[in-house]
């Protein structure tokens, strides 16, 4: 199934953005992002701690809605999802 992953700010600089992946059915949000981030260790370390858990400040969205990062392992990805991963916002 096709999923789009968007990184922003420093995550984008390290990992790129608008990444379209062919994700395995039943994959959870944390697994999806771990697989993609694995291609760049610096990017991975920005997002995940040594246990492979999202760092506290990392913000996740699915289709424009916030997902608490502690809920990521229970969040199953669906076909056509747009996932966003970003550091704390700093607009204004």
């Amino acid at each position: 199934m096709k999923v789009k992953v968007r990184f922003f700010a420093r995550f984008k600089e390290l990992l790129g953005t608008d990444i379209v992946v062919d994700a395995a059915t039943g994959i959870a949000l944390n697994g999806l992002i771990r697989d993609i981030a694995a291609k760049n260790s610096e990017g991975y370390d920005e997002i995940f701690d040594e246990n492979g858990t999202f760092k506290d400040f990392v913000i996740l969205m699915r289709n424009g809605k916030r997902i608490d990062s502690t809920d990521a392992p229970q969040t199953k990805i669906e076909d056509g999802d747009e996932i966003a991963v970003f550091p704390p916002v700093a607009g204004g």
Binding site: R6, F8, A9, R10, K12, F54, K55, D56, F57, V58, I59, L60, M61, G64, D68, S69, T70, A84, F86, P87, P88, V89, A90, G91, G92
Partner: protein, 139 residues
């Protein structure tokens, strides 16, 4: 007008366009690229989500503070020192509501709209840390 765009806006024209029956006060916030030893500022937005969020904040502010009009223009792209980053124009019947409404909007934008700033210095860049928000904790 609620927009995320590269182009600057004419504040006077925004005010004129926002005037309506009952308006007695405008309070305008204008955020500026500050000369913190930087060369330029680069702004990035998660455009669709940020725009939806700005619209939601404007509606919420109108309801809570009984505002007559809200305009928000958040700029993105490369901005030089002294350029406008964010302009908020709030119209209300009286000054207290206009002040409270404008303050509510800027604080809400700082807290939760997906936009990021990078300070570009002679010796490299630095992403501005956010004032708020974590990915965990359902506050």
């Amino acid at each position: 007008m609620i927009a995320i765009q590269k182009e600057d806006v004419d504040v006077g024209k925004l005010i004129d366009a926002a005037k309506q029956l009952g308006t007695g006060a405008f309070v305008i916030f204008d955020g500026i690229v500050r000369d913190d030893d930087i060369v330029e500022m680069e702004l990035e937005a998660y455009h669709d989500v940020a725009l939806k969020e700005l619209k939601r904040i404007a509606e919420e502010a109108k309801k809570i503070h009984n505002l007559l009009s809200v305009d928000i223009i958040h700029r993105i792209g490369r901005l030089a020192v002294g350029e406008n980053i964010l302009i908020i124009v709030v119209g209300a019947g009286h000054r207290a509501k206009a002040f409270d409404g404008c303050r509510f909007i800027i604080e809400a934008i700082k807290a939760g709209v997906p936009i990021w700033k990078k300070e570009l210095r002679k010796n490299g860049g630095r992403w501005v840390p956010g004032e708020h928000q974590h990915g965990t904790g359902k506050i």
